[in-house]
């Protein structure tokens, strides 16, 4: 191989290396001044400081994702005001119509990853953001806005590819009906429950005396991954797998009931109350994984399919050109005719360059789906409604495996504001173990520790201008 060929090869390898090494700046976390960080964290719960710091470092691209994760974590920690603020922020972004958005346009480009776009979540994630905001409204006794939130969540489910999976998020119309009922709006409640019954005919509706809603969330969020099914006629690049086994929930509390009536002829006295332990199973109301995985293909999958086709075609061109270069190179080396050697070497060089260019283009095409996901969502939501006396302020929730084995017990605080009470429990913690959401930044950075920069040490005070100079050391 001549000197020029070696140079060409080196340049080609360098170009390929550049391709493999690059990543968009939008994926990277930015450096934030320590003063800004500490000022921002000052009014945030200490347990979530690292999560909030990540929000700051990841910026607008992951704002909705981080707001949703933190909103949910704050609900579990009892910081409802923080949670309301975060979820309102997320929903404002979700409801904003992206038209002529620079980053959205970039994500459609052949050589740019989908994940450079601002995260707004898939329909099931958006619906769940409305769900949690609605729960906070229920807790506050604002039933109008609770219903509006659940209705907003239901609408997010109307973009499913297949008609039978459109608007089947039963959790939402059930809670719409509950909110309407608590508001005293019986006409709307009936309509909402009718809509719910069309989706979940077997789920029991609230009884006339029921005044408390209990929601129990079990399991972990559906996991997104990027893959395509070669046998499918429709492109589908974003897929899901279930991350949890089936769990059920048993709600326990101590009820106060009137004791036996006094014997006939006995003096009338205040009824004697006695404590009765009750255990009521919560019914499966929603399967979040089902909602995620039955959405069908996205419109954007067609764009990804185009990118994938380009990648395949460019790879094929690269392979053919590489083979041609090898054949021409072999011919050049084996030929004894100087003219043939020169021509073959030139042809080999050109084909090598073509191969490198095609391979580089193939490598640069980005057909992978955006797999950032809301990782502290549950797998399933169970619910029951019941008549709960004011004396009951907390419930005990047993979480059971599918064979009935007790896995763990959680406490659910009963909150009353307005005529209805609500209790909410989680099988697994809603505080994400990793401050970063999955795939929220580049590969290496995902696993680097999150370190909050310390505040710089204060500068030593300068001596006053009229102060006497320090005495010389003896």
């Amino acid at each position: 191989m001549g000197k020029h060929s070696a140079v060409r090869l080196t340049m080609s390898v360098a170009a390929a290396a550049m391709v493999s090494a690059c990543q968009t700046t939008r994926e990277q976390e930015t450096t934030v001044k320590p003063e800004v960080v500490h000022s921002y964290l000052a009014d945030k719960p200490a347990q979530l400081h690292k999560h909030y710091f990540v929000t700051l470092a990841q910026g607008q691209r992951n704002k909705v994702l981080n707001d949703m994760r933190l909103g949910l974590a704050n609900i579990e920690l009892g910081n409802d005001a923080q949670a309301e603020h975060l979820l309102d922020d997320a929903l404002t972004q979700i409801e904003t119509i992206y038209v002529n958005n620079e980053n959205a346009a970039k994500a459609r480009e052949l050589f740019t990853k989908e994940l450079v776009k601002d995260f707004k979540g898939e329909p099931y994630e958006r619906a769940m953001a409305y769900y949690y905001r609605g729960l906070l409204y229920l807790k506050a006794g604002d039933y109008d806005n609770a219903r509006a939130s659940f209705k907003g969540g239901f609408l997010q489910d109307s973009f499913a590819d297949e008609a039978q999976n459109q608007a089947d998020f039963g959790l939402m119309p059930f809670l719409q009906g509950w909110a309407s009922r608590c508001r005293g709006n019986t006409v709307t409640a009936e309509e909402d429950f009718k809509e719910f019954k069309a989706i979940r005919p077997g789920f029991p509706l609230p009884g006339n005396a029921d005044n408390a809603l209990v929601l129990v969330e079990t399991g972990s969020a559906p996991v997104k991954y990027s893959a395509t099914d070669p046998d499918s006629t429709k492109p589908k690049y974003l897929k899901y797998r279930r991350a949890s086994a089936t769990e059920t929930a048993m709600v326990k509390f101590t009820d106060q009931v009137a004791g036996p009536a006094p014997a006939k002829g006995a003096k009338a006295a205040a009824p004697v109350m006695k404590s009765v332990d009750r255990a009521v199973p919560a019914n499966l109301l929603e399967d979040v994984y089902y909602q995620a995985s039955t959405r069908g293909g996205r419109e954007f999958d067609s764009v990804l399919a185009g990118k994938a086709q380009f990648k395949d075609a460019a790879n094929t061109v690269g392979n053919v050109a590489m083979t041609g270069a090898l054949v021409a190179g072999a011919l050049a080396m084996n030929s004894t005719n100087p003219q043939t050697q020169r021509d073959s070497a030139a042809a080999a060089g050109i084909m090598l360059l073509m191969a490198v260019a095609a391979k580089a283009a193939a490598e640069a095409a980005e057909p992978d789906a955006d797999i950032r996901y809301w990782d502290n969502l549950p797998d399933r939501v169970h619910a029951l409604t019941l008549p709960l006396p004011p004396s009951v302020t907390s419930l005990s929730v047993d979480l059971l495996a599918s064979d009935g084995t007790l896995l763990r017990t959680r406490e659910a605080k009963v909150t009353r504001a307005g005529p209805c009470a609500i209790a909410w429990a989680r099988g697994e913690s809603a505080v994400p173990a990793n401050p970063r959401a999955p795939s929220s930044t580049s590969g290496q950075a995902m696993f680097s520790p999150v370190v909050i920069p310390p505040l710089p040490a204060p500068e030593p005070a300068k001596p006053a201008p009229d102060a006497p100079p320090p005495e010389p050391k003896s």
């Binding site: 409204y137 609408l155 060089g349």
Partner: protein, 206 residues
């Protein structure tokens, strides 16, 4: 030719590294709440609230029983009976507050406005005066807080539609306002404001 190809292949390779610069941010600007804002959706937005309350105020002032009675009627305008059944989350007070303030300024004494939402505050002060904890102030005492002759009620409803094929979503929003006579239940005035908005998100979010 060869150089050109090398340059072309490098450029092609580097195009994969196309970066989207982090936005430098946008400085705060004042916006006219009566015009379409920078952030747009299909729900109820500031320009809708401004436009609807202005329209309702003007319309209410043309109703003789409210704005031209021999004795100015006592009117209660708050969100207590203003129901939101739409799919837009909204603070209903933002509508009724603007309507009450606009009406009070425009009616110039032709209507009395009772602050029922301040009833607890008023009662607390009345109690302090009667207990002698504070003096009787300057405007004198009243036998009781004022009752209302009329009170505002209303309902926000919406109808949503989505086309999964095109990603187009539309929302028709209807807001009705009614003024009810608090003795007879007669509805002495009503107004309606409606609008429909449609939009489609970028394909990347569908």
């Amino acid at each position: 030719m060869r150089r050109l190809m090398i340059v072309a292949s490098s450029a092609l390779a580097l195009s994969a590294c196309q970066t989207v610069q982090n936005s430098a941010g946008t400085p705060t600007t004042y916006q006219d709440p009566a015009t379409l804002g920078a952030v747009k959706g299909v729900g109820i937005e500031s320009q809708d609230i401004v436009s609807m309350t202005d329209q309702m105020m003007r319309d209410m002032l043309t109703e003789p029983r409210l704005a031209n009675a021999a004795t100015a009627p006592n009117v209660i305008i708050d969100a207590e009976y203003f129901v939101n059944e739409s799919s837009s989350r909204i603070n209903r007070n933002s509508i009724t507050d603007r309507l009450r303030v606009s009406l009070q300024r425009a009616s110039q004494g032709r209507m009395n406005f009772v602050g029922r939402h301040y009833a607890n505050m008023v009662q607390s002060e009345r109690n302090l005066k009667r207990q002698g904890v504070v003096d009787k102030a300057t405007t004198g005492t009243a036998a009781a807080q004022k009752g209302g002759d009329y009170r505002l009620g209303g309902r926000i409803t919406s109808q949503d539609a989505r086309d999964p094929r095109t990603g187009m979503m539309s929302r028709y929003t209807q807001i009705i306002f009614e003024m009810a006579d608090l003795e007879s239940g007669d509805i002495v005035w009503s107004g309606i404001y409606e609008f429909s908005k449609a939009a489609a998100d970028d394909v990347i979010y569908r």
